[in-house]
């Protein structure tokens, strides 16, 4: 570990640390433009010059290009270095338009800061400034090339880090230009990071253009709750609206970046137009009501139901977008009041898969996204990283950039921004491919696996399976890898796969590898939901039966919309209309909210402190950024009513509403005053002991594991299933899948994401398509039990045989099936 002296202070840093980073560890931020920790050094901007006084280098050098070494003495304040940096700024500013007053970057601009700090003020060069024509880069990014200082950060991020190939450096010398071949939307779903990474205002957030100044914003560390990864963000509030979301650095989770769905998918919180207007006021029987009256009304109505039919006639429904606070309150209410639930999952299989994943993760196996980026072999089983958890795809790319082979076993025609091996296996075959690859990799040293390992190894044998030729080479690479990671999804995979993947990872571990396991779960709150539903096995499907049978008479639905996920819409409508009472608590203007007998508005993640446990078991906390309420925008002013309250400010955290309407004030917090989640989170589940009063609430950062290391002996189930097809070999399995844009509730209610949507299509294998007489681009109608939907066909060799892959897209009326799994016979797909 080299020791060096920077500005007369000594520091010891890890081998390979650049001098610029060593200085930062001392709190000395050397000016820089091109250098970014995630992108590495290129020494293009010459801004980070410092003077080396002693050691292997002498004189003014670029601190981003030189590794810290023993005996170095560095000065950042030496007159020669200061003058050097001042000249560099002067040259960079030669062409800068100085349009800071009308530039959205103004006030948070690295160029501004460093120009001011260098002391440069007067442009001595009398010549004209070069100017450019800007390009249209799509709905999210505004291009303003005149401001460019040619640091290359954008193109390096876009091409090298993310692997997209439509934005780059063009021209030469003084005409140097960063842009696309021609005007058009950027293809990368990570393009929003250009806003964060550009040291000046070349790329600015179009959705926030001319709306704000940095110093006017309320800012708070927040989280993205749109997928299970839980990326760190900074939320920016202003005038009671969320104005912008930025990436927040988290070394273990998302690094420096976030995806565009997370960055631009916040507008639901401000409410949209028409049917997307956020419901900010409580309602009773469709008519506006004051907050206390709605709460008292709901409480009374629920008490009546409980008195009349017993408390178990009230069903409590949550979801995977609930915060842990709301989930715990739901669980507590059910425990103390005797309500039915909590119900967090729609489908029992998904509940069991999620639970299996949560139970399989232990401190040894679980890896973070940073560790994925450092893996030397990644097996992706039944997961579509780019669509289900976009930042995971970026982490995979970092591994691939360091030459780690990535093998994807999935029925979908997966797209990832790097080269990878794809085995298009049907969901039933995933374990066969995974197990066989693993078996071939560890076969040589099976003797050293121990009894349990050998047992599991035997169970990975599959009869009648001829592995593809490619597998021999890949298994050799897996065999020689040191830090392999298995990334397993929980959406399309069959029930046993999550546990099987964990056993595979354990097998790799006992064969001497630092193997890791990384699951993708259905949503941000899935981890907590799975733990809390460990004993409460009810799912929404069976709740519907209870309603039909008259067992359940009332529903309390907290931040959940069955109309979004339930596969049979007709049946759902009939069931809900049978209810005597439907209490909805939500921030989306959902169909459930519209039908509710009593509605109470919930706070969004931006308005209340929310804990989420991400898919690797990391407990994270999003701080509220603003109080919320009716936003002031578009010339509209909230109602001018004499009142001491914030207009539209009735919303409460869902857990608080539940606490009040369940009459829990007596049980918790002694009947009066306020409660804090620290009082009730530990009471909901012993596993959450560490998240409460003793350790201090809120908790942000540590991981929580439900499992202890060791084999479970449950993975062997895989041997039995070997991709047998159903009774009718001509029929298809309908796989409903997630897309990055268009399938989540956030995307349904955020008009800011509309521009990123593309029309849904159904993927199928080319041989299947030929047999069914279909061609790429054909429009078909697909007949289901409860009706038909129409969709375009996309034919691919890389889609597994025997499956139809359809997104749960908001533009597609798909909720016409009885229940999963759904099989569609060939004659039910008709060309139109």
């Amino acid at each position: 570990m080299p020791r060096l002296v920077i500005d007369e202070r000594e520091i010891e840093v890890p081998e390979g640390t650049k001098v610029i980073d060593a200085a930062e560890m001392l709190g000395i931020v050397i000016p820089r433009f091109c250098y970014h920790e995630a992108l590495g050094s290129i020494g293009a901007c010459r801004m980070c010059a410092v003077k080396f006084l002693q050691g292997p280098f002498k004189g003014v050098q670029m601190s981003c290009m030189i590794d810290a070494r023993d005996g170095m003495v560095v000065s950042t304040t030496d007159e020669e270095a200061v003058q050097f940096r001042k000249r560099v700024i002067e040259l960079l500013m030669k062409n800068h338009p100085l349009d800071c007053p009308v530039c959205d970057e103004g006030g948070q601009c690295l160029l501004q800061d460093e120009t001011v700090s260098s002391g440069h003020g007067v442009r001595l060069f009398p010549g004209p400034k070069r100017t450019y024509r800007d390009q249209y880069l799509g709905p999210y990014i505004k291009h303003e090339m005149n401001r460019c200082i040619h640091c290359y950060r954008c193109s390096r991020f876009y091409q090298e880090f993310c692997g997209y190939r439509d934005l780059g450096p063009l021209q030469i010398g003084d005409r140097m230009y960063f842009g696309r071949f021609s005007d058009g939307a950027l293809e990368s779903p990570f393009s929003g990071n250009l806003v964060d990474i550009c040291p000046t205002g070349v790329y600015t957030d179009k959705t926030a253009r001319f709306k704000l100044r940095r110093w006017d914003l309320e800012r708070a560390p927040s989280l993205c709750n749109q997928c299970s990864l839980g990326c760190a963000t900074v939320a920016n509030g202003h005038y009671r609206g969320v104005m912008r979301v930025e990436a927040r650095f988290d070394s273990e989770v998302n690094g420096y970046f976030i995806c565009d769905a997370g960055r631009f998918g916040f507008s639901y919180s401000n409410g949209g137009e028409g049917r997307r207007e956020r419901p900010l006021g409580p309602k009773m029987a469709g008519a506006p009501a004051s907050g206390p009256i709605a709460l008292a009304g709901a409480r009374e109505a629920l008490e009546n139901i409980a008195a009349k039919y017993g408390p178990e006639a009230i069903g409590a429904v949550g979801s995977d977008r609930n915060s842990l606070e709301s989930q715990c309150m739901l669980a507590l209410v059910c425990k103390t009041r005797g309500w039915l639930g909590p119900v967090f999952f729609s489908d029992p299989v998904v509940r069991r898969k999620t639970l299996a994943a949560v139970e399989a993760l232990d401190g040894e196996l679980a890896v973070s996204m940073r560790e994925i980026a450092e893996a030397d072999f990644v097996l992706v089983a039944g997961a579509d990283p780019l669509n289900e958890a976009p930042m995971a795809a970026l982490a995979l790319r970092q591994a691939a950039r360091k030459h780690a082979p990535v093998v994807v076993i999935d029925p979908r025609s997966i797209r990832l921004p790097f080269d990878f091996e794809h085995f298009p296996a049907s969901p039933e075959e995933i374990e066969k491919y995974l197990g066989t690859l693993l078996r071939m990799a560890v076969e040589k040293d099976v003797a050293g696996l121990g009894k349990e390992g050998e047992e599991f190894f035997r169970a990975t044998g599959f009869e009648n399976f001829e592995p593809p030729a490619e597998m021999a080479r890949l298994s050799e690479l897996l065999g020689s890898s040191k830090r392999p990671v298995i990334l397993c999804g929980t959406d399309v995979s069959v029930e046993t796969t999550p546990a099987f993947a964990a056993e595979c990872a354990r097998l790799l571990r006992i064969s001497g590898k630092q193997a890791g396991l990384f699951y993708l779960l259905p949503g941000a709150g899935s981890f907590g939901a799975a733990l809390l539903s460990e004993t409460a096995e009810k799912t929404f499907g069976s709740l519907i039966e209870d309603i039909e049978n008259g067992v359940v008479r009332a529903l309390v639905v907290a931040e959940s919309d069955p109309f979004h996920f339930y596969p049979d819409r007709d049946r759902l409508e009939r069931a809900l209309s049978k209810l005597e009472l439907l209490v909805a608590i939500d921030y989306f203007p959902s169909e459930t909210v519209r039908r509710a007998s009593i509605f109470y508005p919930a706070s969004t993640i931006f308005e209340t402190g929310s804990t989420y446990i991400n898919q690797e078991g990391r407990v994270q906390f999003a701080q509220p950024v603003h109080r919320g309420g009716a936003p002031i925008r578009g010339g509209q002013h909230p109602p001018r009513v004499y009142s001491g309250l914030v207009p539209g400010g009735d919303h409460l955290p869902a857990w608080k509403v539940l606490w009040q309407i369940a009459g829990m004030a007596e049980e918790i917090a002694g009947g009066h005053g306020d409660i804090s989640p620290q009082n009730f989170i530990p009471a909901a589940l012993p596993a959450f002991d560490g998240l409460g009063a003793e350790r201090g609430y809120p908790v942000d950062g540590p991981r929580l594991f439900a499992a202890k290391p060791g084999f479970r002996g449950k993975g062997g189930s895989a041997g039995g299933i070997g991709g047998e097809r159903g009774e009718d070999p001509e029929s298809f399995d309908l796989l409903m899948v997630e897309w990055m844009f268009g399938t989540s509730e956030f995307s349904a209610w955020s008009d800011s994401l509309d521009a990123a949507l593309c029309a849904p299509y159904m993927s199928m294998n080319s041989r299947d398509a030929a047999r069914a007489g279909l061609r790429d681009g054909d429009r078909v109608s697909v007949e289901l039990d409860g009706g038909t939907f129409e969709i375009e066909v996309c034919v691919s060799d890389r889609t597994a045989g025997g499956v139809l892959v359809v997104p749960r897209h908001q533009a597609l009326d798909w909720q016409k099936m009885k229940d999963f799994p759904v099989r569609v016979s060939a004659e039910k797909i008709r060309k139109i």
């Binding site: 190939r165 439509d166 934005l167 780059g168 450096p169 063009l170 021209q171 030469i172 230009y177 696309r180 071949f181 021609s182």
Partner: protein
């Protein structure tokens, strides 16, 4: 649209390479030989043949002086503006050519015959000032020599030999 014959030839050129993109410049030269310059359509088609995105090909095309992304005259006159030529009177050569052809640097004459461009060092420092016309290099330029060369060009339809 690139003619099929050319496409066939380009595919052959590309097939001979270890990785297709190493032939990017050769492919663009072939297309330019035939069409004179690289139009947007030609860029898109060439990129497809090379397995590159149009942007990636554009990065190369706009980096190199000898690839034209806008139409040029039949004869592209490039006057060296590198140090030695600059010392030996490159500006006089540019002024003379501009005056004679009636076009500024970067311009193309009305008859579509000549385009005037600067170039950075063509290795003729010992015979500065120098210029290059299509693939022929001319050194020790004087107004008389320029007149002679341009006269020849105007007469000769074909101009492919070297001096």
């Amino acid at each position: 649209m690139l003619p099929d014959e050319l496409k066939l030839k380009l595919r052959e050129v590309i097939a001979g390479a270890e990785s297709p993109r190493e032939k990017a410049i050769d492919v663009m030269f072939e297309i330019q030989e035939l069409q004179g310059w690289m139009s947007d359509e030609a860029m898109v088609e060439a990129a497809e043949l090379l397995g590159m995105t149009p942007l990636e090909l554009e990065e190369l095309a706009t980096f190199y002086d000898y690839i034209y992304r806008s139409p040029v005259g039949k004869y592209v006159i490039k006057v060296c503006d590198s140090t030695v030529c600059w010392l030996e009177g490159h500006q006089r050569v540019v002024d003379y050519l501009s005056g004679r052809l009636g076009i500024p640097l970067g311009g193309t004459s009305a008859d579509g015959l000549f385009t005037l461009l600067p170039v950075c060092c063509i290795g003729y420092c010992d015979r500065a000032p120098a210029m290059v016309i299509n693939k022929r290099v001319f050194g020790n330029l004087t107004p008389e020599k320029i007149d002679r060369v341009l006269g020849q060009l105007a007469e000769k339809a074909d101009f492919s030999g070297s001096e």
